[in-house]
């Protein structure tokens, strides 16, 4: 007969424990029941604030809905335990069910700590803990404009960001003298504070709350120092309290300040009763993070599933954290606050909002902890050095200043038991074992085999270098196959297409691939063919990415946006009026884009050919806003208007944009031209940017905005227009020929062996002897340009493809708009998960 294992709590830790039980074969031995208080199955609470934006619980769930059933685990939702009888060994649930147990695991987690000041129970005061809390917050927030968050810790700052995202005035009130007082020192807090303030969140430190203001509903906070903050809503995020009330009432020992006391094997004082996660008190510590809870879950599951064998013990966890707060990287690990004897090294740059601190052993040889604010790229490397107690390089400051090399010297010598993924407790040896067994040969496979890299993802760069190093050691060529259908990289496919004259996907896959292709290789081959032959891309319609296929950007609701080209951002009043008239005619929402053009949104698919026809007749052409292609060239007004301008940047931007318009590339390309060093066109944030000097033009390459903004690097200075254009020709073609699919110029340049110096050697000194070819190829692309919209407008057969139904003239009846600020917008996606049945 199976033993009865009951788990109280279906949060992240309870769920992980159940997963581990299943993984270790425990469901053969135990009849497992999990009780959850919330009405839904376990979800990712760490990413709760994403719910504000995507409003989908679906993406947060930790397992598919049939997971419990498939694994033979009974799940009771909305049914918390209300008492534990440790003598007759059974629990009673809120529904009155009595469940006998042989083993009981308490994973009830914690609740939000709400300070006990006067008026804290007023309407308009919320905690921030569950999806239901978020729904209440979102609903109440509709009627308010100013919101305060009580608590400047991790979760509080997350909540403040969510408030900002809801379009409300956002305040953070913190009792301590600094933000994230458990993780950051004064200097780090001050850098973080000014960063967050610059984004619009107001921060109030050293504030002890006296009382809540307002009659029945909350109207603000009064502090002990006499000051008052007038806000209409309060989100409390002032810490957590372990949910140990069940234990307290049933003779399970708890600590003085709460938390169920457990030993190194996570046992409580009652036989067969265990506690894990945020409810557990281990050696005086309560861990308010998910990773330690996961570690406990794994250890306990292992111990319960393999009796007789050596048990594992819990030795406490590292409190390292890395997160992105309102777009600001923050990381803290080890003895970050320097509470033991140490040697600190810190770097502060108030201009860029970067603060980095290393806490070293007094001899400077070992890393004891650290803090990173503003730029946490070094985090995973530092954490590895710290967790594995590796001896540091002679100049440890190189770890935080300058550019550390990808496979820094300190890493090659990592021992096999070095922990790489701390979320899932995977060592370097585990990774090597998986690679050597032949079970996996790429990153995706390695993730599946070991689970490494599937938590916070911080260890993926190290997984990558371990993988590549090991494959090289085995004498294998490290290849970048496009996908399962082609055993070639994009660069190889490009050469194949060019040398063999391949002009269609069908021909490419028949001669050099296998299977039927997919969403990765089809657009990649489409892009290659377009970059070599420059035929209208509608000729290869079915292999184009969705936006290219419809020559417009698909948006919410399945409608499209239309962006006509406005070279250099220069437009006559007449043309402006025409755009307005066309927008009005088709009832389109208008917005000025970041690329100095006008976006017309909300076009139904069947309207596209008509809208283009009207635009083309008025002299507009496609802006290629949909393409992995050259899009826009931004400009300032330059010497024609600006009192500082030294060259005519507008004229040059127009020339550049018209030259390269629509040219297909591995990824989208943007450019800008600034008329003086003041850089009003933000040219260095572009794939290539040009800045005027007294003597001519400086050409910069490899910049971008986007997720990881990068400033472009100087390729050549003081060029005349002709040379500048020649260099851009060569640069673009070299990139188009050699970059991997969907790699932007910044990443391409980073991966280019030899970097910018090598690129200069190729572009300027013709090191490879290919510049004549590159220029000819570019001239071919420039000379064969046709407007893709016009191509459709001129061809009734192509227009047919824009009907919504093949067998009806009707439009899609499900597309709906609502009005906002005097224009239309699509209705929101449904709030709840939408499993269609």
């Amino acid at each position: 007969m199976k033993r009865k294992l009951v788990i109280l709590g279906n949060g992240m830790v309870g769920h992980r424990f159940a997963e581990k039980i299943a993984e270790y074969g425990g469901t053969e031995k135990f009849e497992v029941t999990i009780l959850g208080e919330e009405p839904r199955r376990a979800y990712d609470r760490v990413h709760l604030s994403e719910y504000f934006t995507n409003r989908s619980a679906d993406s947060l769930y930790l397992s598919p809905s049939d997971w419990y059933r498939t694994n033979g685990i009974r799940l009771l939702l909305s049914e918390p335990a209300i008492s534990v009888d440790t003598v007759s060994r059974k629990i009673t649930t809120s529904a009155g069910t009595e469940l006998p147990f042989d083993e009981l695991v308490i994973a009830t987690g914690s609740s939000a700590f709400v300070p006990n000041f006067e008026g804290v129970d007023k309407q308009g005061v919320f905690v921030y803990r569950t999806i239901e809390d978020l729904e209440k917050i979102m609903s109440y927030a509709k009627q308010v404009s100013k919101v305060a968050v009580l608590g400047g810790g991790l979760l509080g700052l997350e909540a403040a960001k969510a408030v900002l995202d809801m379009g409300k005035e956002s305040h953070v009130v913190e009792f301590a003298s600094r933000l994230m007082p458990r993780q950051l020192d004064e200097a780090a807090s001050s850098v973080l504070k000014s960063k967050i303030e610059s984004l619009g969140v107001r921060i109030h430190l050293n504030k002890e709350t006296k009382q809540a203001l307002g009659e029945s509903s909350f109207q603000g906070l009064e502090f002990v120092d006499g000051s008052v903050l007038e806000v209409e809503m309060l989100i409390v995020s002032a810490g957590i309290r372990p949910r140990d009330e069940l234990a307290k009432n049933s003779g399970i020992e708890v600590g003085q300040r709460g938390g169920i006391i457990v030993d190194d094997e996570l046992r409580t004082n009652v036989y067969g009763v265990y506690a894990i996660g945020e409810v557990a008190l281990h050696k005086g510590m309560i861990y308010g993070l998910v990773a330690p809870g996961y570690e406990m879950a794994e250890i306990l599951a292992y111990n319960l599933c393999s009796p007789g064998q050596k048990t594992k013990s819990y030795a406490g966890s590292d409190l390292s954290t890395k997160l992105k707060l309102i777009g600001v990287d923050v990381a803290s690990f080890g003895d970050a606050l320097g509470q033991t004897e140490h040697l600190p090294i810190a770097y502060t740059n108030p201009r860029t909002g970067v603060y980095k601190k290393l806490v070293l052993s007094t001899d400077g040889k070992k890393l004891k902890g650290g803090i990173l604010v503003g730029d946490a790229d070094a985090y995973s490397n530092l954490l590895t050095l710290y967790l594995n107690n590796v001896e540091l390089p002679a100049e440890p400051e190189s770890l935080i200043v300058g550019t550390p090399s990808e496979e820094g010297s300190a890493f090659g010598s990592l021992p096999d038991d070095a922990k790489i993924c701390s979320c899932n407790n995977v060592s370097k040896g585990d990774l090597l074992g998986a690679i050597r067994s032949g079970a996996c040969s790429d990153l995706k496979g390695l993730k599946e085999c070991t689970k490494s890299g599937t938590g916070c993802g911080g260890c993926i760069p190290q997984m990558n270098s371990i993988l590549k190093e090991e494959l090289r050691a085995q004498g294998k060529v490290v290849t970048e196959h496009v996908c399962e259908h082609f055993k070639y990289s994009r660069q190889e496919l490009f050469q194949i297409a060019k040398v063999k004259g391949i002009r269609s996907f069908e021909e490419m896959i028949r001669t050099h691939g296998m299977g039927n292709g997919c969403e990765v290789c089809k657009p990649a081959v489409a892009s290659i063919i377009a970059s070599i032959y420059n035929e209208p891309i509608q000729k290869h319609r079915e292999i184009q990415d969705t936006n290219d296929k419809y020559l417009a950007n698909i948006q919410r609701g399945g409608t499209y946006s239309v962006v006509p080209r406005i070279p250099g951002g220069e437009i006559t009043p007449d043309k402006l009026i025409v755009i307005g008239q066309i927008a009005k005619k088709y009832d389109l929402y208008c917005k000025i884009t970041g690329g100095q053009r006008i976006d017309l949104l909300g076009a139904r698919m069947e309207q596209l050919p008509d809208i283009w026809k009207d635009l083309v007749e008025e002299g507009f052409e496609s802006g290629h806003a949909y393409g992995k292609a050259m899009r826009t060239v931004k400009s300032c007004v330059g010497s024609t208007w600006c009192r500082y301008g030294v060259q005519d940047s507008t004229a040059f931007a127009i020339r550049i944009e018209e030259r390269y318009r629509g040219i297909r590339a591995p990824h989208k390309l943007k450019s800008a031209v600034s008329g003086c060093i003041r850089e009003c066109a933000e040219a260095r944030g572009k794939d290539f940017g040009i800045i005027a000097t007294e003597k001519g033009w400086n050409l910069y390459v490899g910049g971008n905005g986007g997720v990881n903004p990068k400033h472009a690097i100087l390729l050549a200075a003081d060029l005349d227009e002709e040379t500048c254009v020649k260099y851009i020709d060569r640069f673009m073609m070299f990139y188009i020929r050699t970059a991997d699919k969907l790699v932007r110029t910044s990443a391409w340049l980073e991966q280019l062996e030899g970097g910018i110096e090598y690129l200069k050697d190729v572009i300027i000194n013709d090191r490879l002897g290919i510049n004549k070819d590159l220029e000819e190829e570019m001239n071919h692309l420039v000379g064969t340009y046709v407007c893709e919209w016009k191509d459709v407008v001129d061809d009734p057969e192509k227009q047919k493809k824009y009907k919504h139904f093949i067998n009806s003239e009707d439009a899609d009846p499900t597309v709906r708009f609502i009005e906002e600020r005097g224009q239309k917008r699509p209705v929101d996606w449904p709030k709840k998960e939408l499993v269609s049945n």
Binding site: E484, G517, Y550, T814, S836
Partner: protein, 121 residues
């Protein structure tokens, strides 16, 4: 054709020549939006609901088709989730799935098999 307990009712939609090769179109069948794919490189036809189960948008017919380990699939244009065209299961690992329908070609006409027409949406 794999017939289950109930024989579907076959509804003619259009002629074969109206369908793009290795591409999809949307058809209106008894008020329901059905995406139909002429998977010519496999010499197969597939049909499924046109609705993205994740966003609710009617866009699957505009998705790209291909295969994953030999399994024919359609990729939703909204967020690139892949669905098996055979079973409707989400290949990219999400728990939602899509409804699929049998397709039958006769004398150059494409037919969709619907169970009990008239009761749909």
């Amino acid at each position: 054709m794999n017939t289950t307990a109930k024989e579907p009712v076959w509804i003619p939609v259009s002629t074969v020549s109206e369908f793009p090769e290795d591409g999809g179109v949307c058809a209106k069948v008894y008020g329901e939006q059905i995406a139909i794919f002429h998977f010519s490189s496999r010499n197969e036809w597939f049909a499924c609901e046109n609705k993205c189960p994740h966003t609710g948008d009617m866009v699957l017919a505009r998705g790209m088709i291909g295969d994953s380990q030999g399994e024919p699939k359609v990729v939703c244009p909204m967020h690139k989730k892949s669905f098996s065209l055979r079973t409707g299961a989400c290949i990219s690992g999400d728990e939602y799935s899509i409804k699929t329908f049998p397709v039958h070609i006769e004398d150059g006409t494409v037919y969709i098999g619907i169970e009990s027409p008239g009761t749909q949406g």
